[in-house]
Subunit: 263 residues, 2 copies
């Protein structure tokens, strides 16, 4: 199975299009005392991720840990166990890595991401290389999901205002994704991202590619805006609103039902 097929299987079997964030941060955890010892932090973060999967695994389709939260404090073996747990629940696991290097360096990253047990990774197209990196990812059996249009305000001057071949850079990126067989796009759902932007990207890349849409929950994203424009193959990513809810299980169930009511 390629990544799109793995995603579709998980989505249909779990009846969910939710992706859950696994981004442990000491400041956000309700701790009596913050550990300073590295091994204790590592163990705490590992347990946080495992419990989060146990609490949300029935209501999600995917997990998406971000490199900037897990890769320094956790070991490769811990990450392997986290991915195994996610797979036991029938979820796909995407590393939000925003890889964007030259060929030989990307190859090293993809090797380790595969070793760690992920199904896919996110990719940043600043250095181009979408076609090359997709080929390298597919050779490892990994899916590649390329940043296309982000929702943070300061991304506008790069992704929307910069023009390439007579079109905004994000549209040019969407064409590159289409032509390169990449498995999906990261498309923001809030702020400056309009219905028309989302529709435009879907039209360019086609119906099969997976839209990974962050910005829901604590980041205030618009679920309906995604659902009415982004087609069927979508992952709605919920980070802090599930991760740091008083009751993770309840929060995940509520998000899942809310979204399923709309789609």
């Amino acid at each position: 199975m390629n990544f799109i097929e793995k995603y579709e299987k998980a989505r249909d079997e779990k009846n969910s299009i939710i992706s859950v964030g696994l981004d442990p941060l000491l400041d956000n955890m309700k701790l009596k005392e913050k550990p300073t010892d590295m091994e204790k932090i590592s163990e705490l973060f590992f347990n946080f991720c495992m419990e989060l999967i146990d609490n949300t695994g029935d209501y999600a389709c995917a997990i998406k840990p971000n490199t900037q939260f897990i890769l320094f404090p956790l070991t490769l073996n811990q990450i392997k166990k986290i991915n195994k747990r996610a797979h036991d629940y029938g979820l796909v696991s995407i590393l939000d890595h925003k890889l964007g290097d030259i060929g030989s360096t990307n190859a090293s990253a993809l090797y380790w991401i595969k070793q760690a047990g992920f199904d896919a990774l996110t990719f940043s197209p600043f250095a181009g290389n979408i076609k090359e990196a997709t080929k390298q990812a597919h050779a490892q059996g990994l899916g590649l999901i390329c940043l296309t249009l982000m929702s943070n305000p300061d991304s506008v001057w790069v992704q929307k205002e910069a023009m390439s071949n007579g079109m905004p850079l994000y549209e040019k990126i969407a064409h590159e994704i289409k032509n390169s067989d990449a498995d999906g796009c990261v498309v923001g759902a809030t702020g400056h991202v309009t219905d028309e932007n989302i529709k435009k990207i879907r039209t360019i890349v086609g119906n099969d590619r997976v839209f990974l849409c962050p910005g829901i929950g604590a980041q205030g994203g618009d679920i309906k805006k995604i659902l009415r424009n982004a087609g069927k193959n979508i992952l709605i990513h919920v980070g802090r609103s599930i991760m740091y809810a008083d009751d993770q299980k309840k929060a995940a169930e509520e998000f899942c039902n809310l979204i399923n009511n709309y789609r």
Copy 2:
């Protein structure tokens, strides 16, 4: 001392502007047998990095490990020891991380990069956020070096052909670097990057910012092209040509002398 001052001290004390790559890859090591056990690989990579510093520390100004080679196989404690060793030689240590996320995620990365003992990191401006991330990095005592113009062929359609405010995207990025107090720029030295491109970036950002120039050695960069256009505050990064030389010490000494003869 801020990062630019740390760099200038190292450069003057070591009489070198070389940055050495620490990018361990099993395929490139001359091994009788490739280990498969994770702990053995970890130990092998750690020793490789420590020996590389011992062999090149007298002829370099900086080390620059790339996240995609070291962050999966090495532990945070191993990386701390590597940075301590580099500091013992009077070198600055830059993590080639190409960070490019939103604020709260960048904050987590910067926290861990500081914990690991680095002096600076590279940053990718695809999501904008140069000003915000520089402020966050400086609050941690870290320098931020922003990708500006890379030399790989496929970066052209993003960095050179895309136009923002009537100028190529890389020039717009250079202005953002200038306005944001970022500590430096990554500027490629080979392929499509011309004398005029390098000169233009230096003119925009001013004389103090550090130019980190990869592409020398195995990647075939043009040392003279950098030296005649990039000013005084530069780091010439040498990767595979030192890392995988039969005699790392001799290779580092030769690169150092060659570059010092030109500057």
